[in-house]
């Protein structure tokens, strides 16, 4: 959910854009990171951890904890919390090197 009214801040949002997450269309505004847009869309559960298959999602949102790594436009290990969403981006939560 995006904040419309705030007592201190005014949010100037850029152009509306769209990207896909695991095949689903997600709306975003230019300037938002992929993680921010997913969070606004209510997507908090990103994927499962490699070994113990535990559900994981956003944690630090600043690129330091490795919880948000996804495959973006074919590039694995992309930190979506510091990557801006771009029109037409293809984001997949599966993040293994053997993805074709």
């Amino acid at each position: 959910m995006r904040i419309r009214e705030h007592p201190i801040l005014e949010f100037e949002r850029g152009k509306k854009i769209q990207f896909t997450f695991n095949g689903n269309k997600i709306e975003a505004y230019e300037g938002e990171t992929i993680a921010a847009a997913l969070h606004a869309a209510g997507i908090w559960h990103y994927n499962e951890s490699d070994v113990l298959k535990r559900p994981r999602g956003l944690f630090c949102a600043i690129g330091h904890c490795s919880s948000c790594l996804m495959t973006v436009d074919g590039v694995p290990n992309t930190r979506i919390c510091v990557t801006d969403a771009v029109e037409g981006m293809v984001v997949k939560s599966e993040n293994r090197g053997d993805i074709k």
């Binding site: 951890s49 490699d50 070994v51 113990l52 535990r54 994981r56 944690f59 330091h64 904890c65 490795s66 919880s67 790594l69 290990n77």
Partner: protein
């Protein structure tokens, strides 16, 4: 869930139980635990887990934190593609 199941290293899914077991087996430095359990080798390079592992080592062995917290860091800090390193672009 038990205390031993608590996740200490998010990148490599290493639990508190595993860390404690390794320490009891005699692996009482961060470098040893890194080489056996991979804590510190994942994408976050030990940022998340190191202080917590150090605390466990201190608690179990009685070693001082100063002695435990000695690490080696090697570049690069951040993801660089292999292509970028080896591409041998002509430099001006």
């Amino acid at each position: 869930m038990r205390e031993d199941d608590i996740i200490i290293c998010r990148c490599e899914d290493v639990t508190l139980g595993t860390i404690r077991e390794l320490i009891r087996q005699g692996y009482t430095t961060l470098e040893e635990i890194k080489r056996i359990a991979r804590c510190g080798m994942g994408p976050c390079q030990g940022k998340t887990c190191t202080p917590l592992i150090a605390r466990e080592i201190a608690a179990i062995t009685g070693k001082g934190i100063h002695e435990i917290m000695k690490q080696n860091h090697r570049p690069p800090f951040g993801g660089v593609t292999f292509e970028e390193i080896v591409s041998g672009r002509d430099e001006e």
